[in-house]
Symmetry: C2
Subunit: 441 residues, 2 copies
């Protein structure tokens, strides 16, 4: 008989005479003449209840199957007599595939996130982390679907690189057959080359920062989504960014309902409300220069000073989106002095066509810009910033031959997951997180 997954049984339309399922015991409760087992196979959050009659062969062995043990169960799918579930299985045969001894760390009780990080290889077996990594998978698919449906092409930009994306952050270095090389901090420059050939493209892959910081928001390795669009200005860039944020929230609410509800119930009571605000708001579009007076007039005591020409900190961003506008905000036209060389210089010669999307609960979730497509302006900027043109000959080539206005942004995938699940630590949305001192597994 072919194995059926539990997700299919829980969504069944009708009883079935004989089904075969395999999975792991979540709980077992023995009553007079029966054993009741909650079995989970990872296909969804829900378990299926199995009723084992003491008359079955191996009943004594089955009673050793504690939390974590693996079973193969044949039986009849019937409407449940009990409360709390629609279907259950009356077992006709139960095979114990393996046991989980008493030192199995995931006994039925509440474990702290900190403890579960030390057993990252086992934590996806818990309800919370099973839900988390199913959501991560679904949203990863949603990213691809969003762009494919719009006619974007997916580019696998290189991880090992001889160049850098100036200003993005500290890089890990390695020896590449005698050459000095780095792990990429951004696929943007590669994506630009492809946007100027294929039109609309995106990268979605791992990126790295060698910053020795131990915060709840930083990891040394994380996944980034970077679209790049030819013939697109900063306004079109904002449109795509806003649409993508809303699309991913909608996708999760529709396709990961049960798993998201776990987070709304146990992790963040404000989650559904916050997602609803983001999903339904028109994002406020505000020039950086207009954000400064708002912050100065806030009456808030910020840790970092506010003035035109200074970069905004998380505390400022969160004030704007959470307290002042109470919805997502797109800040744009930042002072050129605080932004990288590739951003397009505005006519004021003071600001560049940068844009950041700030959302409640997270702060910056998207950072992007219209790119400087004018060769001479780009060269002048690089010179001012002391950058060596020779290292960027290929990047400059794209402005020599058929250059066009183009734009793009980066969206940290882990920030999206933190937004959509309410998880407060980036370590809890990555299968095996990499932070200083943590390379195990």
């Amino acid at each position: 008989m072919k194995r059926t997954k539990i997700i299919a049984l829980l969504n069944a339309d009708a009883p079935t005479d004989a089904v075969l399922i395999m999975g792991w015991v979540r709980t077992r409760r023995d009553a007079k003449g029966f054993s009741f087992i909650e079995l989970n196979d990872g296909s969804c959050l829900g378990n299926i209840q199995i009723i084992v009659n003491e008359s079955l062969p191996d009943y004594e062995k089955i009673k050793k199957a504690n939390t974590g043990a693996a079973l193969s169960v044949t039986g009849e799918l019937i409407a449940s007599q009990g409360a709390g579930q629609t279907w259950e299985i009356r077992a006709t045969e139960v095979k114990v595939i393996s046991l989980a001894p008493d030192d199995y760390p995931l006994q039925k009780k509440r474990h702290s996130d900190e403890f579960l990080r030390t057993i990252a290889h086992l934590r996806p077996r818990t309800n919370k982390y099973g839900a988390m990594f199913r959501i991560r998978s679904e949203l990863s698919y949603a990213v691809h679907k969003f762009f494919k449906d719009k006619g974007f092409y997916h580019i696998h930009s290189p991880i090992i690189t001889g160049s850098d994306c100036e200003g993005a952050g500290e890089m890990f270095q390695l020896d590449f057959f005698g050459d000095k090389a780095n792990l990429t901090v951004s696929g943007q420059l590669s994506a630009e080359m492809f946007a100027l050939a294929l039109g609309d493209v995106y990268t979605f892959g791992p990126t790295f920062r060698a910053e020795n910081s131990n915060t709840a928001r930083h990891a040394a390795e994380f996944w980034m989504i970077e679209p790049e669009m030819a013939f697109c200005d900063i306004s079109g860039n904002m449109d795509i960014g806003e649409e993508l944020v809303k699309y991913l929230i909608d996708y999760a609410l529709t396709n990961c309902k049960q798993d998201i509800e776990l987070f709304a119930k146990f992790v963040d009571k404000e989650l559904m409300n916050r997602l609803e605000i983001i999903r339904t708001s028109s994002f406020e579009r505000l020039p950086y220069k207009d954000a400064i007076p708002i912050l100065l007039a806030s009456g808030k005591k910020f840790d970092y000073p506010i003035a035109f020409g200074k970069d905004l900190q998380s505390e400022h961003e969160r004030y704007l989106t959470e307290e002042h506008f109470k919805k997502p905000v797109i800040l744009y036209n930042y002072p050129k002095t605080i932004k990288p060389f590739y951003m397009r210089l505005n006519d004021d010669n003071e600001t560049v066509a940068a844009m950041d999307i700030l959302v409640p609960g997270i702060g910056e979730i998207v950072g992007g810009s219209q790119r400087e497509e004018r060769l001479e302006v780009l060269q002048a900027r690089m010179k001012q910033m002391g950058m060596a043109e020779e290292s960027y000959w290929w990047y400059l080539d794209s402005r020599r031959f058929g250059t066009v206005p183009h734009s793009g942004f980066g969206m940290g995938f882990e920030r999206v997951l933190m937004l959509i699940t309410g998880a407060s630590n980036i370590r809890d949305v990555i299968p095996f997180p990499r932070t200083p001192g943590h390379i195990e597994f």
Copy 2:
């Protein structure tokens, strides 16, 4: 007016009064009173023909728009009078966005693959590489769709790792905040941990080999697809592998028809025939031990000797699939001495439940196994191979608690692309390939 992509125009049902398109000049031909421009925007292989009347403003400037120049064109979409195209545009306004000077390297002529690798930032602007990277994008999506439709979850396994997947190959090393770390050679061990929690999972990400080899089949950085299935034996593993190979070919033939035809016409005359054989064959399943007498009886002079216990080389694999069976072959049950520690020991105590899929034109395209799920057997194998158990405590944990039979394989994404396009060099299927001495771009 909103810009329309050329792919939409070429598939139009009816003429349109006014359309706006943007793209790059592929060719321009001047006739008396007219200029004919072939414009491409990367959305597809095809160009749209634009008829520019000399009465239009800026006509002299338009006549400077050579191959590579960028234009914005407004006009009427009409049925073409000429041969070779269904639709063309009678321009009402042409704006020259930018020119491409005479030193633009991609003048209309045939360029060698070797030359184009030196301008990897420009080569996607050619017909061949535009087609290649559109196919790469479509097939990348197809991989995700295949697994999602089967209920697999996608896991982002770590790139920087403290462990290795013993026997997979040489690793790049880096300093991770004072710890020694490597770039991953396989996401398998991570994927196993998740399969034992979520059931069916897969990874699809960059992997690395620090082997200083300069062949047409090796790159230091490449993308690998690695499914891992709980409650699945070697036979189920073969089923999924065979199905995936066929699915990707079908997907490409259906969704990348025009781009594939370019390769069938200009790159590999045997391509369509080979793909048809693979797509429609039932893959031959042959134990390794039965392959040895076939090779010995072949009458071929191989460079490497053949004997039970020796690994097969590419020449042997290709003989089996291309000459002997003339269709894909799944070799299985290899001698344990030539395979890694994690493969399941067969009852003969001599072979392990490994399986490789060999296809004509490529050789090995899939390599996998049923994993050793029995703790004591796994520990004994590790001891025999001189491996330190302490480094794998977490991996062994998965065999201590609720261990179940499980299987998986690795499929090199670039090999799939070489199979489906007929490209003979791995450097030509990767946007910016990484081989010794090549980290530019």
